[in-house]
């Protein structure tokens, strides 16, 4: 066993874990944060995307032990004070989800795309950047709309915050 201490969604956590425990297992099984999903065994589908120190990571590809001292954010941690994150709101408004299984990973990836590419996204950029996230339900049409709208809303939000 090994001990890992990290911050998950703003809360300090220390857990004794089997050294081979993956980050996604730590989140789902030890912390019961089941919003992060597992959809494949090969780091292809992106259902498990979370943010580690502000950057998107496929949590099935990272050992929990590698997260010592890290700040991890999951789908459960992006709404603030009962207010949905603009990207969550955009997915709902634009029907960017059907079965909901890929959705947490999609939303976490989408926020990361905005962080890297800015708030004015075009369709081609969004489609290219979603390469690591597979959805079987939506044909991506409404996901792309949602990401563009969510990015715009994030821009508006940030401007307000700066004012």
């Amino acid at each position: 066993m090994t001990t890992v201490s990290l911050t998950v969604n703003g809360q300090s956590v220390t857990k004794d874990i089997d050294p081979r425990t993956l980050l996604v297992q730590l989140l789902r099984e030890h912390l019961r944060l089941t919003g992060t999903h597992v959809g494949c065994d090969t780091s292809q589908c992106g259902a498990c995307v979370v943010h580690v120190n502000g950057v998107s990571v496929k949590s099935c590809t990272m050992l929990a032990a590698q997260c010592e001292g890290a700040f991890v954010t999951t789908i459960e941690g992006i709404a603030e004070g009962g207010r949905l994150h603009p990207m969550q709101e955009a997915f709902r408004e634009h029907h960017g989800l059907q079965c909901g299984y890929c959705t947490p990973g999609m939303i976490m990836s989408a926020i990361d795309i905005v962080n890297r590419k800015g708030t004015a996204l075009d369709e081609a950029t969004v489609r290219h950047e979603l390469e690591g996230n597979i959805c079987r339900c939506t044909g991506y049409h409404n996901i792309v709309k949602a990401v563009i709208a969510g990015a715009e809303a994030m821009g508006g939000g940030m401007r307000q915050a700066a004012e």
Binding site: D18, R20, R28, L33, T34, G35, T36, H37, V38, G39, C40, D41, T42, Q44, C45, A47, T74, I75, E76, A79, L84, Q88, F91, R92, E93, H95, L97, Q98, C99, G100, Y101, C102, T103, P104, I107, E123, V126, R127, H128, L130, E131, N133, I134, C135, R136, C137, T138, G139, Y140, H141, N142, I143, V144, K145
Partner: protein
């Protein structure tokens, strides 16, 4: 208040839990004392099991139990079943071999279930599974229909010595042959409909739980139809009687058909829970899903179309070999027969049709319904034939279609179906306009200047949905009725719970069904909750597949709502002191006709429960009504999809430039959700045409495409945004006018893509999936000479 009535684009009520990570899927459920199951699977496609040695595995750390087919047999647990009887041409019943949940003597495909190891932790179970020693005598497999039907091929099951499960046919052979004999032109095609693996993003999972105090089982499972699962597990497999078995299908992450079926793993988990005295959990990993989820399609067909001198279709003939895999899955036999051949008339007035279908065993995963189930295969046959016929006759493919469309309804086809309503010319006209068909020649020239090959392809599909009238499907061999049930429970304060036998695994029932209730009862949509997926709450139901939840499931709700309103009028008559015949119900209010005396729906609900204003012996207190709705006909959604694309002859790369879909789904409850269904269906159809294909090694029977590294799922960048529109002819066969929309895209899309690709490259020799390699090869072949031969 936002508009939430029928026809409004209401954002989904269920989304809040999904976007906040609060969905509750089966793998999110853990029971106290739970142990974990890992299946020992056959590494061979065909082998006799000489011996299974579990002694080492039993001694591994944390192991709770190791169970094999012998244990199942000792407990008299029956085999998995196929619920649809097909009779061959000669009248003999299909030849089905046994399908034990854990192998008994033989394994028949890579991934077949040999034993289950149950341990305290998943990793311990995995380690112990490695320690199970199985001595196999490996045999030669057959993985495709041609090898399976070859003389001297090994038999997958002794019951079907030549691997033919059935040799079935439909239609009038003599009339069809006569039409071909007098035809002026015949178009012939050899068609392979590629094998697909469904790949819902949530892998299958199960938690079996046994309560020894009450001798009762609970199974949490990724199911599209928990009541059917309970019925099969009780009545056929014999795990427990229905009143001692609760099946819960909570949030389910997509199904596309693959979660209809009653599989080995779920069966074993619920049985083993009692056997080992612990809740037993199994979650499929993705490789297991590739190996053991029921696959789809896999047809080899010779098809012909006969025409007169004017290009009027006279007859259609098809001979299909359908790969059914190593065992008959739950509805496997119905898919290439009654869900396929009755659709071979397409949207066309075809006087004579004859189809023969051989269902064939192979050493591959079982094949069953996958989004569209038989109807995509039929549409591909019809729409490829029609397209090629138009090209060979030198006619415009749109005009050729229009000339042969059915014009008058109802229309009886020569293959069972009676189409009730449609306007195929209207959909085509709208689609041609939206696709700017007139401007295509100009765009093709512009592409050519850039060295690209542009093509356009049509698909005028039809499907039979809203399955189905129970007596009708019973006469065709179905083992169940295909009605749906609903119960409307009105609470004393006027909020409403609707219990439905339909199951939502992405379709948004919690919103659309609530829209219907809100619309009919005149109450806010927030006051309605939809309950589904638990056999302890919903009494009975047939589940969600075949685009039936709107046409059948909502019709049941509508019927129950009518009863609620009728009872409400009786209560209102007492409350408002008027004759029942004078009570009108509109916009959520019961009113005495011609007066201003009225009471709101909530007030009447409360009065129904407190029962002070009427005699409780004459009128029962309470407000709760149920209904079973059995449809009167299939429904017939139809439409036109147009794919325009560009092929790079240097690389074989293809880019879909524009997708136009015009569908007639009848009355639409929520356009936002319906459009989403169309988008997703198109993506799956494009996946079949361009990317996806299951590949088994012909020598070893190994599944070569068993991960997302090898099986190419469509990604965002592979697809355009779609132009989606509708025409509406209400369905006359159900009270809501709904036809169904869930499968349309997957049915229409493959033919539209391949028709566009063959248009681009100038000949018909383009396989599915048309990967860059396949397309590059196609580009090396000379285009056909001028069309009119």
């Amino acid at each position: 208040m936002a508009v939430t009535s029928i026809g409004a684009r209401v954002a989904r009520k269920e989304d809040h839990r999904f976007i906040t990570g609060k969905g509750q899927y089966v793998d999110d459920i853990n029971r106290p004392g739970q142990a974990h199951a890992v299946f020992v699977r056959s590494p061979h496609a065909a082998a006799t099991i000489k011996r299974i040695d579990i002694s080492a595995a039993r001694k591994m750390p944390g192991v709770v139990g190791v169970l094999t087919g012998e244990d199942l047999a000792a407990d008299k647990i029956g085999g998995l079943i196929c619920g649809w009887m097909i009779h061959s041409k000669d009248g003999s019943p299909m030849k089905a071999g046994a399908h034990p949940a854990l192998a008994q003597g033989k394994v028949r495909y890579v991934g077949d279930h040999v034993a289950v190891v149950i341990a305290e932790t998943l990793l311990q179970a995995k380690d112990a599974a490695e320690a199970v020693v199985v001595d196999y005598a490996v045999e030669k497999p057959v993985v495709d229909v041609a090898s399976a039907l070859a003389k001297g091929a090994p038999a997958v099951h002794a019951e079907a010595p030549d691997n033919r499960v059935f040799s079935w046919h439909l239609g009038d052979k003599a009339a069809t042959d006569a039409a071909f004999a007098r035809a002026k032109h015949v178009t012939s095609l050899d068609i392979v409909n590629n094998r697909l693996i469904p790949n819902a993003m949530e892998p299958r999972a199960a938690v079996g739980d046994y309560d020894s105090g009450n001798d009762a089982f609970t199974l949490y499972t990724t199911s599209q139809n928990p009541h059917v699962a309970r019925l099969v597990l009780s009545a056929f497999i014999g795990v427990a009687p229905e009143h001692k078995l609760r099946v819960i299908a909570p949030d389910v992450g997509g199904g596309f058909g693959s979660k209809i079926f009653i599989y080995a793993e779920e069966t074993v988990c619920v049985w083993a829970a009692k056997k080992v005295g612990r809740p037993v959990k199994w979650t499929s990993d993705r490789t297991e899903a590739f190996l053991s989820d029921a696959h789809g399609r896999d047809h080899v067909t010779k098809a012909e179309l006969a025409m007169d001198e004017n290009g009027r279709i006279l007859a259609l003939r098809a001979s299909t070999k359908a790969n059914l895999g190593a065992y008959l899955s739950t509805f496997a036999s119905s898919v290439p027969t009654y869900l396929y051949a009755p659709l071979l008339s397409g949207q066309y007035d075809i006087p004579a049709i004859y189809a023969e279908v051989d269902g064939v065993y192979t050493h591959t995963a079982p094949v069953d319904a996958y989004r569209g189930a038989g109807r995509p295969e039929a549409t591909f046959v019809v729409e490829r034939l029609v397209e090629v016929a138009a090209r060979q006759l030198g006619q415009d493919p749109a005009k050729f279609r229009a000339r042969n469309y059915i014009r008058n309804f109802p229309h009886q086809t020569p293959v069972i179906m009676a189409y009730d309503a449609g306007d195929y010319h209207a959909s085509l006209k709208k689609a041609l306009e939206l696709a700017d068909y007139k401007g295509f020649a100009r765009r093709k020239r512009e592409s050519a200047r850039r060295g690209k090959l542009r093509g356009i392809g049509f698909s005028s599909y039809i499907e039979a949905c809203g399955i189905a009238p129970s007596a009708a499907v019973g006469s065709l061999g179905a083992g169940v009725g295909l009605w749906e049930s609903a119960e409307v429970r009105v609470n004393p304060i006027g909020t409403v719970e609707v219990l439905t036998g339909s199951h939502s695994h992405g379709q948004g029932h919690e919103t659309t069904f609530a829209q219907l209730v809100s619309d009919r009862l005149g109450i806010p949509i927030e006051n309605v909750s939809i309950v589904h997926g638990d056999t302890d709450k919903v009494q009975m139901g047939m589940g969600t597949y075949g685009s039936r939840s709107g046409a059948v499931g909502m019709s049941a709700i509508a019927k129950a709502l009518d009863k609620v309103i009728a009872k409400g009028r009786k209560v209102a008559a007492h409350v408002l002191e008027a004759a029942e015949g004078d009570i009108e119900f509109k916009d959520g209010k019961f009113t005495v006709a011609g007066t201003d005396r009225s009471a709101g729906f909530g007030d009447i609900a409360l009065q129904a429960y407190i029962a002070h204003k009427f005699n409780g012996q004459e009128l029962e207190p309470g407000l709760k009504e149920g209904a079973f709705y059995d449809p009167t006909n299939f429904t017939f959604p139809a439409g036109v999809h147009i794919c325009e694309l560009e092929v790079d002859p240097q690389t074989g790369d293809v880019r879909i430039e524009k997708w136009t879909a015009v569908d007639d789904f009848g009355v639409i409850i929520n356009p936002l959700i319906v459009e989403g269904q169309v988008h997703g269906g198109i993506a799956q159809g494009v996946g079949q045409a361009l990317h996806e294909g299951a590949v088994y090694d012909p020598v070893t029977g190994q599944l070569v495409t068993a991960s997302y590294m090898d099986y190419r799922m469509p990604r965002a960048e592979d697809l355009p945004s779609f132009v989606v529109d509708t025409t509406v002819t209400p369905c006359p066969s159900n009270p809501l006018g709904i036809k169904g929309c869930g499968e349309a895209g997957a049915i229409a899309a493959p033919a539209a893509v391949v028709n566009a690709l063959t248009d681009a490259v100038g000949h018909e020799d383009v396989p599915m999936p048309a990967t860059p390699q396949a397309l590059w090869r196609a580009c090396q072949k000379a285009p056909r000479l001028m069309a009119a031969e």
